[in-house]
């Protein structure tokens, strides 16, 4: 089961303050989303690859869906963006498909943007303990009742994954197999999957509320924490230097 994406480790990236890393992710993603230049995208991609290496991680996992979505992005851009010079053209019956140089460039840039987005997110989640992230956010000022929702939601992820598998197995035991169904039957199967899942999940709310409120959750406007997440000089330094690095790269790659 996938559970959480966190890969424990001791690299510099692992040791950075979670909120600092979140800010870095936001800055990086912001830059990725507002720039379409192919060269800059490639440069950002380079930073990403180096960071993965520095954090001791392979470059992302689960390649199949990533590749298929990349291909989709690339095809849409190359087929529909008609800029530059047409490179080649062919007819399929009445439809003529043409590939333009600008389309290829736009396709490549969009794919890089996608890879940069998911690559940086992967780097973030792989090096950040989600529990520590929530605690750090709450210590940085997020109201704790809201902050704990993240922890609680994550707490139940493995349980829901397990329940989902059980329900699918129960369906198969009743002779219902999803593969090879007609759309109408598929819709019924989905309904039959979601309803027990929702009811079973909501059935936990009462017990959870009694358990949490019974331990003084929400009694005081503030709370204390067993573990503190201190901000180090390295955090401040990274936060300062990273935007400069991105800016410099932007200038160099024009």
């Amino acid at each position: 089961m996938g559970r959480l994406g966190y890969v424990p480790g001791g690299s510099l990236l692992h040791r950075l303050h979670p909120v600092c890393k979140l800010l870095l992710l936001i800055i990086y993603t912001g830059v990725v989303w507002t720039n379409a230049r192919l060269s800059y995208g490639a440069g950002l991609f380079g930073i990403l690859v180096i960071s993965h290496w520095a954090a001791g991680l392979g470059f992302m996992g689960r390649s199949r869906r990533i590749i298929s979505f990349s291909i989709m992005i690339f095809l849409v851009q190359t087929i529909f963006v008609r800029q530059g010079v047409p490179l080649w053209e062919f007819s399929l019956g009445r439809v003529t498909l043409a590939f333009w140089s600008g389309g290829l460039a736009a396709g490549a840039a969009s794919v890089l943007r996608f890879l940069n987005t998911i690559g940086s997110s992967y780097l973030f989640i792989a090096t950040t303990d989600p529990n520590l992230l929530a605690v750090a956010l709450m210590q940085a000022g997020l109201p704790y009742r809201q902050g704990f929702m993240l922890i609680t939601a994550l707490r139940f992820v493995p349980l829901f994954q397990y329940e989902l598998i059980q329900i699918r197995r129960a369906q198969m035991a009743k002779g219902i197999d999803l593969e090879g169904l007609r759309p109408r039957q598929l819709a019924a199967a989905v309904r039959h999957l979601l309803i027990p899942l929702v009811l079973s999940a909501l059935g936990k709310v009462d017990s959870l509320a009694i358990s949490m409120e019974g331990r003084a959750f929400g009694l005081h406007p503030q709370r204390t924490y067993r573990v503190q997440c201190p901000v180090s000089t390295a955090d401040w330094l990274t936060l300062l230097l990273f935007p400069l690095l991105l800016y410099g790269l932007g200038r160099i790659l024009g």
Binding site: I151, A173, L219
Partner: protein
């Protein structure tokens, strides 16, 4: 000395309910007492627990008369959460009362909410985990714990609040015998070593009764002092059925892996027409995995499964389901339809040649006291389990695979269910069922006992009990809930 808990003429009726859940309850409990509260399911035990920690009447709509006083003060005069450090409640389901990702955070959760200093929080976490013998679980992730471990962590997380009263509401109900013993040992340790007042709500009295200062018995909302009436008649014995020589099901060297874990290792056994076979073992020992693998829900790594002489190892689950009907443990994962009738007919639609036989299904529903037009999701746990059994019986698979079908059933119902299973065997079927009630499974033909995925015992009951003792697993036998 003042009683820590005093209840005067307490009557509570849930909104929309016709009858009160609690009727004119009077009770005084003294500091340091260990009180056992018992009674049939639905008698109002849990409602009483919720009255003690103030959740009723604050969070549950309904009408309340009388008074509940904690330390001389009425619960209604406490601000929400203010009772948290005074009355602690541990609930039945180990999973839904833990809200954080790691054991240490779970136990620290309460003290952190009380705004204690980090040093004090640490001290309390250490103390509470030590008190339940779970210091070694400190850094573990909650989802990797066993049921017994989760329940111990839940107790520790309440203890860390240092409550004056600790209430445990059926803390062992969802656990296997080993987990239940772990929890009972913890309760015993707390009773001996701490000053806390303890109230345990429990069906299974055998082991706790000698520890308790007092036994309270609740019935239909009214409270009396024990001892309880001597329960139940003996279960009917299985009538002799002709057991065939040729096996109906033959499993050879079955090994099953799932997500990198070995669930079953080299399991071989046979089941014949006319047989009822009980499967026993700890949670996680592979009981459920075995049933699922037989149906093909988890693909085998190695091994061969033969049904009525035919190799079915490579058939898909929805095809195999024609010859074996599986009821999973948690009925909430298996109900899909809008009415009991529809639900009971669901498997027949795809698995019975000629589709569902509505007349037969209505007859079965009647026999199991299930109204055909009711919404399945609103049934009680026992009723849901019976409904699933009906849906299997409706298409008559020769082999029934039942995971804990008797949990949540009243005694009368268990007798009826047994009669049905005996009838199925007599008609040339076979039953494999997971069950931990020694008194019950002693009536069956054979016991399969699993330990860490291996089949370590395959023998008739009397012989199986001897072997269990030899394996050092007496906890399965020590008059766990009923003696023969």
């Amino acid at each position: 000395m003042e009683p820590i808990i005093r209840i005067e003429q307490l009557t509570f009726t849930y909104e929309g309910a016709r009858r009160p859940a609690l009727k004119e309850v009077d009770l005084a409990i003294w500091p340091g007492e260990f009180v056992l509260l018992t009674g049939p399911s639905g008698c109002g035990k849990s409602t009483l627990a919720l009255c003690l920690n103030g959740v009723i009447p604050r969070d549950y709509p309904g009408s309340m008369e009388g008074k509940v006083l904690i330390g001389g003060r009425e619960t209604t005069s406490f601000a929400p959460g203010e009772l948290a450090g005074i009355v602690g409640l541990v609930q039945q389901d180990p999973d839904s009362q833990l809200c954080t990702l790691k054991v240490v955070d779970e136990v620290a959760f309460g003290p952190e909410n009380l705004c204690l200093s980090p040093g004090e929080i640490d001290r309390r976490v250490r103390w509470a985990l030590d008190a339940v013998g779970a210091l070694h679980l400190w850094d573990r992730e909650v989802y990797t714990l066993s049921g017994g471990e989760k329940q111990r962590v839940a107790i520790a997380s309440v203890l860390a609040m240092q409550p004056q009263v600790l209430i445990l509401d059926e803390p062992t109900a969802n656990l296997d015998p080993r987990g239940a013993w772990e929890v009972i040992d913890v309760i015993d340790k707390l009773r001996r070593e701490e000053q806390t007042t303890i109230i345990v709500i429990e069906h299974r009295l055998q082991r706790l009764l000698p520890l308790a200062d007092r036994l309270l018995v609740m019935e239909d909302g009214t409270l009396g002092e024990g001892p309880p009436e001597r329960p139940r008649a003996a279960y009917p014995a299985k009538p002799p059925a002709s057991i065939t020589k040729e096996p109906l099901l033959q499993v050879e060297n079955l090994t099953v892996d799932w997500e990198g874990r070995r669930l079953l290792e080299d399991v071989s056994f046979k089941a014949h027409r006319g047989e009822i076979i009980a499967i026993m073992g700890d949670n996680g020992s592979g009981k459920t995995s075995l049933l699922m693998s037989l149906l093909g829900l988890i693909p085998p790594r190695e091994g061969k499964i033969t049904f009525a002489g035919e190799d079915i190892t490579s058939l898909k689950a929805h095809v195999r389901a024609r010859c074996m009907g599986l009821a999973l443990q948690n009925p909430n994962h298996q109900l899909f339809a809008r009415t009991n009738l529809e639900e009971a007919a669901l498997p027949s639609r795809s698995l019975r040649p000629g589709g569902a036989d509505e007349g037969e299904i209505r007859r079965l529903l009647g026999e199991f006291a299930l109204p055909p037009e009711r919404l399945p999701f609103t049934l009680s746990l026992g009723e849901k389990k019976r409904l699933i059994l009906v849906s299997l019986l409706a298409y008559r698979p020769p082999l029934l695979l039942l995971d804990e079908p008797l949990v949540g059933q009243d005694d009368d119902r268990i007798g009826e269910l047994l009669a049905i299973l005996y009838g199925h065997a007599a008609a040339g079927g076979a039953v494999l069922l997971v069950c931990h009630e020694v008194a019950l499974v002693s009536r069956f033909d054979r016991i399969l006992f699993l330990e860490e995925g291996r089949l370590v015992i395959d023998a008739p009951p009397a012989r199986a009990w001897e072997k269990l003792c030899a394996l050092g697993r007496r906890e399965y036998l020590e008059g766990w809930s009923w003696d023969d």
